[in-house]
Amino acid sequence: MRKARGIVRNLQQAGWYLPAGILLFLVFVYPVLRTLVLSFLHVNLESGFQPVFAGLSNFGRLVSDTRFYRSMQATLVFVSVSVLLEFVLGLALALALEQLKRSGRFFRTLLLIPWTLPTAIIAILWMWFFNDQYGAVNDLLLRLNVIEAPVAWLAQPRSAMAAIILADVWKAFPFVLIVLVAGIQAIPREMYEALEIDGGTYWHKFRYVTLPHLLPFIFVAVIFRIIQAFAVFDLVFVLTGGGPGGKTETISVYSYYTFLRYMDFGYGSALVLVLAGLLALIGWTLYTLLLRHYEPGR
């Protein structure tokens, strides 16, 4: 009797999780398992999309795939530079807004706009800006006499990567900013007052109060950004398509091509699995190195 009641209660309990569970199963659990299975199969044009057992050969191919390494390199460059810039800009601006106090909220609203806009659509805008003939960037630089002739930003690997990073920083630094502003607001005012009574300067306030309190917020924002930037797709796909010379092709973009253009589902699965594994590793490492220390009791 009591046992039966327990079962009924467990069923009722499960009911609460059912809608979420179904959605997550369909869109996370099954797809991940399916990808795992696919990565051990050849399912491609050559096999007529019929699954053929491949063993580890997809992964073997990956080891010697220079394009994979290239895309990994491009991804790493993109992630490190853009997240670093976003962090520096976000922190500087968060501290600056704190100085301004009253008008801070208004600026925060304005700065939230870039973050809210769809990347795929904004990428079109940037593509226009960087156009060598009609682009605003060249127009401005020409007028300021910084350059003599129009520069084809998206036609050179370095400047194309720089353009992508610029666009990403533009869009994503407000996120870092907002998290850090929240962090600054959470610092008890008394801390500063105590330090002031003790004769601390602005630098001391930053060094002994702001920074230590802000660290967990910084870590959260940076880890979020690193992981998101690692999976970057929209921006690169629309802005450069991976070019020129494949120098801006990130792993997500390469994987997308492998699936939808080359129709190589087995190999594509191996690719995305490696991406997911890598991200898990990075996420876990960052988490244990930086965040776990701050979790309990904070």
Partner: protein
């Protein structure tokens, strides 16, 4: 010092807004003016031609409706499912809760490209390709971990005694959720709804892949097919008008719901 800070903040604001403002102005210029070198700043001959063209020559109205329908429904479905789950989660033992939270975290950080193809297979199996539900369900699910996470944090703050009071008052478990917990969690649910709406509105990869009929596209995918990335004629004016038309709802949302969006973002970012 203060002056320098002001100038710095001002410059950053300019840099954040200029692309959008520039685009807004450009969308009002005639095609001839846009092709002029060097470019003009303010529209010399003001025209709404590009906007008209957007809605007449292109199925932009359809993109718009699709985006609205898909984003609203996925946000609604997501918040509803996340609301139910997070309520129970907030009331379950800490060990279970933190185990679930960590797995949600892992899912929230999952690169969407990993899921793209298998999800496509499922959508295909259910015959939802080119159907709004082919995007609504994946979007709701993709944002579910984030929404659950955000809501659980909030639900934990709702006093348990309220639910006990409601139970004594005569409410069953679901009625407690519907009449007491959900109304109280409304602020967080609104934040979650707005954020999921924005994420869905902005999603590109799934929209591009799952919706291959013109009439089924959402704004992001529709715009990309108008775009120069795929284009030979490069219709700058049309693009500028498209960018403006598809982003204005979001810009308005930022101004109206700034506080809610920030609350959701920071809660989502800081919790645990």
């Amino acid at each position: 010092m203060n002056r320098a800070v002001r100038i710095f903040v001002f410059l950053i604001c300019v840099w954040s807004l200029i692309p959008v403002v520039w685009c807004g102005l450009a969308s009002l210029k005639s095609s001839e003016e846009l092709a002029r070198i060097p470019a003009t700043l303010l529209p010399a001959d003001f025209t709404l031609q590009h906007y008209i063209e957007l809605f007449t020559r292109r199925p932009f109205a359809a993109y718009y409706i699709n985006s609205l329908v898909v984003s609203s429904l996925s946000a609604f479905l997501c918040v509803a499912a996340a609301g139910l789950a997070s309520y129970r989660l907030a009331r379950s033992p800490k060990r279970f809760r933190s185990a679930v939270s960590s797995s949600l975290l892992v899912m929230a950080f999952f690169p969407p490209i990993v899921l793209l193809f298998p999800v496509y297979e499922i959508i295909r199996m259910f015959g939802l390709v080119n159907q709004p539900w082919g995007l609504i369900l994946p979007y709701a699910a993709l944002n579910l971990p984030f929404a659950t996470w955000l809501l659980t944090g909030y639900m934990e703050l709702i006093p348990y005694e309220l639910e006990e009071a409601a139970a004594v008052d005569g409410l069953g478990p679901f009625a407690i959720f519907r009449r007491i917990v959900a109304p109280l969690a409304m602020p967080a649910m609104t934040s979650a709804f707005l954020l999921v709406f924005i994420f869905s509105w902005n999603e590109f990869m799934f929209a591009l892949t799952f919706m291959n009929l013109e009439s089924a596209r959402t704004l992001t995918a529709g715009m990309a097919t108008l775009s120069g990335a795929f284009s030979q004629e490069i219709p700058w004016g049309l693009l500028a008008a498209g960018v403006m038309a598809s982003t204005i709802p979001l810009i308005l949302a930022v101004f109206v719901f700034q506080r809610k969006i920030v609350a959701g973002l920071t809660a989502g970012g800081i919790k645990e």
